[in-house]
């Protein structure tokens, strides 16, 4: 029987992959050619989704983007035999330049295997990192992560090995506390930045990779319990993760005795409830504890006093999912990629108004222009690309003059950029940058945890001041006011929500001042 792959990734499903799968199965059966249908994750070539692949002796042939109505024609054209004579045929998947030119370490398996199949996972090198870790002393696991140079992929880029060492060495004894002696691994899967979907893609396409990374983290620091804090906006990821957790537990990769080692690791998924700030790590801890997600003052560090007051490793999905590769292939193999102090690969995410949106995993050091042009293929609208926001809602808007810097953590920040979680949101020339600056303040107003005045009140004032600037009311005074306001937020905020909201605002003003100098509209000035 021919094996056919139709992804069950959110983006594929959002473009009718289920209907495609159904039409394929009935159409093929009708023709007397029943198929073995695998619901894989996505390869991350989102402009080609739903991307249907067919197993052939030469490799997997790709067809996309396939709508349900394309299916009969594709079957007629011999798709099940891997025939290339159809306009939707993209050739062998692995030779599509977008994929071929990437360096997929963390995402090597995503889109290739059946995400919940333990056999597929094992057959593609799964659990080998864990097996290596089980034979190592905790210090040696931490050393490997340190030597790999892996830094946090959630935004702050803190060295993972340093964090793990702090938790390994932390004393978990809290006489009198219910949780005394316990350490935790908390995976941050809140993925709140607009324009990012790498965590989701990995959890939907290769959930065991995250699970394996978390078990290794547990072994490394002596934690026997883990949580995945998943945003509730990801119902599909929740379903796949929970299924994977159950299967991993039944197969003995989780539970009282991981792989029969006698060492325990229990893992569960917890859902957020629509609050951007709960992606901030201490706010996430409060949320996991069943409270409002208020940002905590540091110190104490979560590594010393984290979840329920106990030593806790908090890492992003991608950080933890990079660990199995490091343990399996060795720290050097990972550190060989990258530049400067940014080692390994970064899964960049091309989003917004881009012709070829998707996931591009590459060693640090690639330029924005390469990503936007060679991979992204320009805007989806065909209009000129005007602004790019990198690193989420707290990242700067960059004009074309800033697209040639190699992207590593340090170098990119010198030009006012921030890699953050690797999201890249593209806008064409129809964008109104004053509206984008206003939105940044509005978003902060909506999502602030409310703990500090500069953030809570500053954002509200920020929206008002930008409205007055747009309406041409006392421009100069209000521009000065906005500058002061940004400075107050930068200086007086406890976390990056308030502290970095000025980034998109200031960069919009600096690089696109003409958008703030429109003649005053005649009526309803600045409303809304």
């Amino acid at each position: 029987m021919t094996t056919v792959y139709v992804p069950r990734d959110t983006t594929a499903l959002a473009l009718e992959a289920d209907a495609v799968a159904e039409r394929l199965q009935t159409g093929a059966a009708h023709r007397g050619q029943p198929v073995d249908l695998v619901r894989n994750g996505s390869r991350g070539l989102f402009w080609l989704e739903p991307l249907v692949e067919v197993d052939t002796p030469d490799g997997r042939m790709a067809y996309g983007p396939v709508t349900p109505d394309d299916v009969p024609g594709l079957l007629d054209a011999g798709m099940l035999g891997g025939q290339p004579d159809h306009p939707l045929c993209q050739g062998l998947t692995e030779s599509i330049p977008y994929l071929r030119d990437q360096q997929r370490l963390t995402f090597a398996r995503t889109g290739v295997i059946d995400p919940v199949s333990l056999e597929d996972y094992r057959a593609s090198g799964g659990w080998q990192g864990l097996e290596a870790a089980l034979a190592m002393a905790p210090e040696a696991i931490v050393d490997a992560v340190t030597e790999s140079g892996l830094r946090g992929r959630g935004g702050a880029a803190f060295p993972a090995g340093t964090k793990w060492r702090t938790v390994l060495e932390a004393d978990p004894e809290r006489p009198g506390s219910h949780w005394s002696g316990q350490k935790f691994i908390a995976c941050n899967a809140d993925e709140g930045d607009a324009g990012t979907f790498a965590d989701r893609m990995l959890m939907e396409g290769d959930p065991y990779c995250l699970i394996e990374g978390m078990v290794i983290a547990g072994l490394a620091v002596g934690a026997t319990r883990g949580f995945i804090y998943l945003r509730s906006e990801y119902p599909n990821a929740a379903g796949i993760l929970n299924e994977a957790l159950q299967r991993a537990e039944s197969a003995g990769y989780l539970g009282e005795s991981v792989c029969g080692s006698g060492r325990a690791f229990h893992l569960s998924v917890r859902l957020g409830a629509g609050a951007y700030i709960c992606g901030e790590e201490t706010s996430m801890l409060d949320s996991l504890e069943g409270k409002r997600g208020m940002v905590r003052v540091k110190p104490p560090l979560p590594a010393h006093r984290g979840l329920f007051g106990q030593p806790t490793v908090i890492n992003n999905v991608l950080t933890l999912a990079s660990v199995p590769f490091i343990l399996r292939e060795g720290a050097r193999s990972y550190a060989d990629y990258g530049m400067g102090r940014s080692r390994g690969t970064q899964p960049f995410q091309l989003a917004g108004n881009i012709a070829r949106g998707g996931l591009v995993e590459l060693a640090f050091g690639v330029t924005l222009r390469t990503l936007l042009e060679d991979f992204g293929g320009g805007t989806a609208s065909g209009a000129r690309m005007r602004a790019v926001q990198v690193g989420g809602p707290l990242g700067s808007y960059l004009p074309e003059s800033h697209w040639d810097e190699p992207m590593d953590y340090e170098g990119f920040s010198e030009v006012g950029g921030m890699i953050g979680h690797g999201g890249i949101v593209v806008f064409d020339e129809s964008v109104d940058m004053a509206a984008q600056a206003r939105f940044a303040m509005h978003f902060c107003e909506d999502e602030s945890c409310g703990k500090c005045t500069p953030c809570r009140i500053g954002a509200v004032r920020g929206v008002e001041v930008i409205d007055r600037i747009i309406a041409n009311q006392e421009r100069d005074t209000n521009l000065t006011l906005l500058d002061d306001l940004c400075e107050t937020m930068e200086q007086g905020s406890l976390c990056a929500m308030g502290g970095m909201t000025p980034n998109p605002v200031r960069s919009a003003l600096q690089h696109f001042p003409e958008d703030f100098q429109r003649p005053a509209p005649t009526a309803h000035a600045g409303g809304g």
């Binding site: 402009w47 906006e233 629509g274 917004g352 108004n353 949106g357």
Partner: protein, 165 residues
Amino acid sequence: MTDLEAITRRAIDDWVDEPGALLPILHAIQDQLGYIPPSSVPRIARALNMTRADVHGVMSFYHEFRSEPAGRHVLQICGAEACQARGCRELEAHTQQRLGVGYHQTTLDGDITLEQVYCLGNCATGPSVRLDDRIIGRVTPQRMDRLLDGIATVPLTIQPAGGEG
């Protein structure tokens, strides 16, 4: 015992022994009822040794929890940057006009509650919307019309005698 009480009790029983049980309990109730009935708050508070004010504080902090019933369907439109770049502001205006409601409102026929959401993780093929648990990409105003027509043409299901709505 009403359904509502049974659901609350069940949610509490399922989670009360787990650490940080409040959010999972609220989710479990809202998943089944579409909202958290005010009458369940004192029960939750008692079970978790919290005050009612604490429970209310948590419910109001998170955008997702509702204390009033929602429509038969919840429609969320992504309003975040990547979808802005693909025209979600127009989509939002079109949808609000067509449904005659703003965000956090329910259509008069009780069919649809409209909400805004910041990012559904479908940022390369926006504008994105979520209809109940289904995420849909590249939603133009025309596509939204077809989607809404689809909802409106679903015949009302006739409840068996004695069934709850």
